[in-house]
């Protein structure tokens, strides 16, 4: 169909067209990157780098010591504003805490009990089956306390954001000391290049030595960010460790069955493929 382009003029024309397209595209991308207007790269946030999480990989579980430290960070820092609705105290048992530790956590709290005989509301100490409490009664209270911004529930936040763990970690550690020149922020908001638009209501919350880890790990900003991100990834995917184990089993079984199927097919077809058919014409 196509003949090879052989004339020197045509070759020059094609080279020129390719170079023009490449340079034009590069120029447009560069133009796009130096402003933060609507529908530009800056509006969608800086892409986080890919970090080497210890649970990356097909057969890698979470680092449970990190989950435990991350829960401590969540409880001491994040829980002041962010809820974690879908995690119950019982979920921590055997993952990051023992049953008695989890019971000690929830017994410190009060939950609604059934009303008494006169219908008056009552309170009771928490049980393992209770869910983690929200810092605010409802969305309106949360917005009123945060200048109109709603701190999102963190149960599924790792699944709910592009870049997942890398994004959460980059966001937590990515606050510069002051916004870059020329950036105008609405009152009460902070600059973070990883947050789409760059203007985020949450300020920097993690500072070195903010918490004291019980296993003696130095509580640097990045260590706390890594631990709380691992904890939030566990909260979003509590089935993670079992899922990968089942995946391994499924891979072994299905690939074995595949090999068996190939063997059976060859076994059954061998005589058919090897046979020779001889035709003896009838003798007249």
């Amino acid at each position: 169909m196509f003949r090879a382009v052989s004339t020197p003029l045509a070759q020059k024309f094609i080279t020129g067209a390719v170079a023009t397209t490449g340079l034009g595209a590069s120029y447009l991308l560069y133009q796009d990157s130096i402003t933060a207007n609507a529908m530009t790269a800056a509006e969608h946030g800086l892409h986080p780098p890919a970090y080497g999480w210890s649970h990356n990989g097909m057969f890698e579980t979470f680092d449970h010591a990190s989950i435990r430290r991350g829960f401590q960070v969540y409880r001491d820092v994040c829980a002041a504003c962010h809820s974690l609705d879908r995690i119950a105290w019982r979920n921590l048992v055997g993952v990051s805490h023992t049953a008695s530790e989890a019971k000690a956590f929830c017994e410190e709290l009060e939950y609604d009990d059934e009303p008494d005989d006169e219908g008056a509301p009552r309170k009771r100490p928490g049980k393992l089956a209770d869910y983690l409490p929200s810092p605010y009664e409802n969305e309106q209270a949360a917005r009123a306390a945060n200048q109109g911004a709603l701190p999102p529930d963190l149960s599924l936040i790792v699944k709910a954001r592009h870049g997942a763990c890398d994004y959460i970690f980059s966001l937590l550690t990515g606050y510069p000391d002051e916004p870059p020149a020329g950036v105008v922020l609405p009152p009460g908001s902070n600059y973070n290049p990883y947050f789409p638009g760059g203007s985020i209501a949450m300020g920097r919350v993690l500072f070195d030595e903010l918490v004291e880890y019980e296993d003696g790990t130095p509580a640097t900003t990045s260590q706390m960010a890594k631990d709380v991100t691992t904890f939030l990834n566990w909260a979003a995917e509590p089935e993670h460790d079992d899922r990968k184990k089942w995946g391994l089993k499924a891979l072994i079984v299905t690939s074995s069955l595949y090999l068996v199927a190939i063997w059976v097919k060859r076994f059954k077809w061998q005589p058919i493929k090897n046979r020779k058919i001889r035709f003896d014409p009838p003798k007249k």
Binding site: F59, E60, T61, H64, A65, V93, T98, E214, K249, I252
Partner: protein, 64 residues
């Protein structure tokens, strides 16, 4: 008649062999995979790091 061939003689024995074989294989396979998986992730699992956080005493814990 060999032992293998005898399994195919009656349908009841044939089906029972498949069910029993699946049951036995599952137990063996699950133990083997779990053993490899926990060895592969040694040091990250809860029962590996538990001792680092608990100062003994809590050993009779009934957690899963």
């Amino acid at each position: 008649m060999s032992f293998i061939a005898s399994l195919f003689q009656r349908n009841s024995i044939y089906v029972a062999t498949i069910f029993g074989g699946a049951f036995a294989f599952q137990g063996f396979f699950d133990v083997a995979v779990t053993k490899w998986y926990e060895n592969h992730n040694k040091g990250k699992l809860w029962h590996d790091v538990k001792g680092k956080f608990l100062d003994g005493g809590d050993e009779d814990e009934d957690d899963e």
